[in-house]
Structures are given as C-alpha cells and as structure tokens.
Symmetry: C2
Subunit: 336 residues, 2 copies
Amino acid sequence: MKTQSILLKQRPEKTPQNSDFEFKEEEVSTPKSNEVLLKSIYISVDPYLRGRMRDVESYIEPFQLNEPITSAIIAKVEKSEHENFKEGDYVLGHLAWKEYQVAKGENLRKVDPKQANLSAYLGILGMTGLTAYFGLTEIGAPKEGETVLVSGAAGAVGSTVGQIAKIYGCKTIGIAGSDEKIDLIKGKFNYDEGINYKTTDNMKEAISKAATNGIDVYYDNVGGEILDATLQNINRNGRVINCGAISQYNKDETATGPRVEGILIKKSVKMQGFTLQNDFGEKFNEGTKKLAQWLQEGKLNYEETIREGFEKVPQAFIDLFSGENKGKMVVKVAEE
Amino acid sequence: MKTQSILLKQRPEKTPQNSDFEFKEEEVSTPKSNEVLLKSIYISVDPYLRGRMRDVESYIEPFQLNEPITSAIIAKVEKSEHENFKEGDYVLGHLAWKEYQVAKGENLRKVDPKQANLSAYLGILGMTGLTAYFGLTEIGAPKEGETVLVSGAAGAVGSTVGQIAKIYGCKTIGIAGSDEKIDLIKGKFNYDEGINYKTTDNMKEAISKAATNGIDVYYDNVGGEILDATLQNINRNGRVINCGAISQYNKDETATGPRVEGILIKKSVKMQGFTLQNDFGEKFNEGTKKLAQWLQEGKLNYEETIREGFEKVPQAFIDLFSGENKGKMVVKVAEE
C-alpha cells in the first residue's frame, strides 16, 4: 500500500514557500505488535513549526531535511495490533504529514467524535486551548477588573485567551489585522475592544485609548512592534506572556528593538515565555477538563479554518504567516 | 540654626555632573510634637536616584528642581518631641540631603550601633541586602547545583547576591570591571568564577566558558550588552532578575538592542523587574532577620566605600556611574 508524504526539502529562508516542501510517494508498512495503521483525517498546521524548520538549537529538535514534517493529527484506526484501539477508533497523536502511516499505540490518545467535533481536539480542546489556558492563568494570573490585551486575537489561541479572560472578570482588548476580524472578536469572542493594527498608525496611542486603565496583562502572540507599543502602556506589576512572535519568525536572529530592561525595572514588569509540554505537561488533564466544561456551558466559542485536501497542507501552513486563517487552521485530508 | 542642603539644580542630561547640584544654606526649624531634630551621619548614594532625577513617570515621583535630593540616611537624634526616640538615638530614615533636619518620628526606624556598624544599616542590613535577598530568592528562586551569574558583582547588591547564591548551593559567576574587583569577588565574596568585562572582547564566549552548564539565574545590575550576551547562554527555564540597568541610566530612552521575545519563548525564560518597597515591603522583617543571621554566622562579608564630608555627596553619587566604588557607597557627613 502506498501513501503520499510531505518532506522538508529545504529550510525556509524567510516566509516559507511551497518549494520548501516535497511530496513523495512511499510504501506503508504493516503494523506490528502494539502498533496501529492510521489514516490521517485532520492535520494541524501551527506557527511554531516554522521554528522547527530552522537548524538551530531549540526546545525540540529541528526537522531533518528530506524527512516528513510532523504535527498534531487526528487519524482513524484502519488496523490495530494494540489492545487499546480497534478499527474505526479516532485518535490524536503527534504524527507525520502522511495520508497513511503506522504508529505506536502508546503515543496516541483516543478522542470521542460524539463529545465534540473531531477538529476541536486539534484546537480548543487541544494544544491551542491549553496554550491559551495555561499561559493566561499560570503566567498572566489575571485578576477581576484587570485589563487584558491580546495580540493575534482572532487567531486560535488569541480568541480563546480573550474568552477565558472574560470568564475571569477582566476587560479584554484584542488586536487583529482586519475590520472583519475585529467584528469577529467583538462579537463571537466577547472582546470589549478591538484594534485593527493594519489601519492604525500609532499603536501606542491606540492601545492607550482602548485601555483607559492601562494594561495589566498582555498575551503576546506576535512580538515585535506591537509588543514595544504595549510595554509603553503597561501598568505596574504588569505581566507579559510571551506565547508567540509570529512577526519575527521569518526574520533572522539579529532583529533589534527598543531595550526592555528599563521598563521591566521601572514598573516591576514580568515577561515570560513558555513551552506548553515542558512547563505545563503535568497539568494537561486539569486544563482539558476546565476547557471542556466551559465549552459545554457555552462560555467558549471557537472558529476554525478548514482547508481540504492533503496537497493543500503546505499552502495552509504558509498562509498562517499572512494571517489568512480565522481561528485554528486545520486541513481535512480525508472523510471522517 | 543653619544647615547646608543639596538641591537638584537641573536634570542631568547623561552622566550626572557636579553642576546639576546646588548647595544652599537654610534655617533649621524646631521640632514640633512627634518630630525630632536630626544630625545626618551617613548618607547613602544609590544608582536608582538617577531615575528620580528624570522628569518622567516612574514608580516614585521625580525629584523636583530646586528641592533637596532624598535618600536613605543614618542620623543621630539631637532633640526629640516623639516618645519613641531620645537624644543620642541613631535612626534610619528616608531623609533629605541636609546636615540637619526636622523629621516626623513615624517614618524613622531606630538602629543599634552595637549590633552592627551604623553604615551597615544602609547596606547589607538595609535596602542593599534586601534587594539582593528578595530579588534572588523570590524572582530567581535558585536551586542547589544551578549556575547563578551576577553583573555588578563587586557592587553592594552584587557581592551580596553571590554569597546568598552560595548559601543556596549554587555555582556563582561574577562580572566586574577590573582585575582587582575580580580578585575581590573570588576572595572575599566567594564567587567561583569572575569575568572582567573591560578586558573581554566577547562576553558571550566568556560567559559560555565560565558557565560550563549554562546560566540558570542571571541577577542583572547593568542591563545592555551584558544582558544580551547572557541571554545567549541562558538555559531552559532560566530566570533573569532585572534589578538595575546602570549601563542604560545615562542614555536616552530610545536605546535599542537585540529583541528578546524569541529567546524568552524558545527557552521558557522569565525576565522580571522589581521594586523593593512595593513588591516585598511586607516581607522586610523576614529578610532582615535572615541577613542578620547570616552576618552573625560569618556567611556574609561586605565591602563599603566610605567618602567623607557633606560637600562630597554629589561627587560620590556621580562616581557610582564610573564604577569607582567597591560595595555600598556611603558618605560620612559627621562623626558618630
């Protein structure tokens, strides 16, 4: 049996291009003891993968050239040699960008298509939701009445952060890149205020106008100039959650900006990055339970952008960097 | 009765100059109920005062032009109208740069010249010691076997940080600006390694060589390029305590440097500034007790630079910025 596989052909220089990836047909092996044969249904594309495409030391090892990219994938069990899984089960795993593959059962988690849409396990109930939840609550520690600013607010993580901050009784301000996204975050995602950074000349002023009491917590998905502008509006004892720096991912490492140490000292500000698995891995059950509860109570909405077709996976990934997705971007590569 | 007083004549542009200060003779009033008449004995000069000389929003209000500078001062009670104090008592207070002044008793704390040298209450048992203790233990949270890097290591705060880190079982590396200071920190202050940044071309490499296991905690008293070089050597879950940025104080606010958000994210690093009084004021008793205990047990050495003469106060302050002091700088302005 044959499968298509997507390999990293060359390391992207700036914004990833289709030519950085290669499709290759290969043979699928037969599952051995404790293994399962999987058919990919939904493939998650995520900004953090860009980091793994660099050949530099990071918290996880870089992708190898001419090897398949891996990410979170929802797959259907086609054949099982593992006692926990049977044909027809749906599983979540960190898997290769392949239509079919054999995987060890121990690294897979069963997911229930009746409890939530399958794609939600890649988003609001998966890494995305947990990233929003732990970053905001553990590092940001928002208190009732505080003001929480979120960049990438229409994105998968950002839209969830805003809603959780509202559950905590905070005022929420979201930054996004189109008026349509601003409508979305103020509507579906319950943000109190929205700033379209693409039509705003002076972010420092725009934030100052929206945040009449200053910024207590900034959940940063973008880095760069929006971070700089936020630090100019930060309150004493403010907390910056450095979740992502999508504005910087396609730049080389010598990017400069205003020095931050002066403001950190003057205002007793904390900036902290995190890595979900390493820093909060032991608390995933707690987080997933909270998120599932809020979802059931109707307190969490989510948006997803579903592309279709295995051949569209690289382009879906590339489009993350021009902000074409609303909410979590996944690619549906086969019927459920 | 007359006293000399030191006023802020103009806001320093870069490095403070003697011409930024003005000596003025004025009349000393008579203490009213709950007040005391004080004679200044030791005046503390501190880098953070530079910040208050700017006319910008900060955690404490800026000094006013043509008003006296204030700082921590050890004074002798000359006359008391407050029940807690009698003539001959020594007190610590946040007081004006004057030879004599009247102050409210409620803002003064009695200090005991038999328990420690009077000047120690401005240093190792005062703000300096507490700054070292709380910054390192509360923000840095050093664990046994970790590597702690300290800049300004021969300074008042830095020399104490290193010794506390050793008490916690850490490897300590100090950065200072002369070979004499390096000898001092490796001798008297028990540092395992020392780096003379003035004779080092490549700080990134020098830190890497001294810190064979990378940097877990960086207690930063200087900011700027040494901070940049440290971040290139920081370990996963590293913590940066932004205590001071003396390298930046005399620059304007537009200084730029390498962006930090990428490293914070990649390595789950925390950078956090603090303000002693606001953030840890409620725990001062706990901190002072710990420091006094270590001092008595012989686990803490300290160095101080004592200048003499009230007229030398501005110059002593100015000399902080060229690193002429070893340890806490105080000016003895009258005999005990």
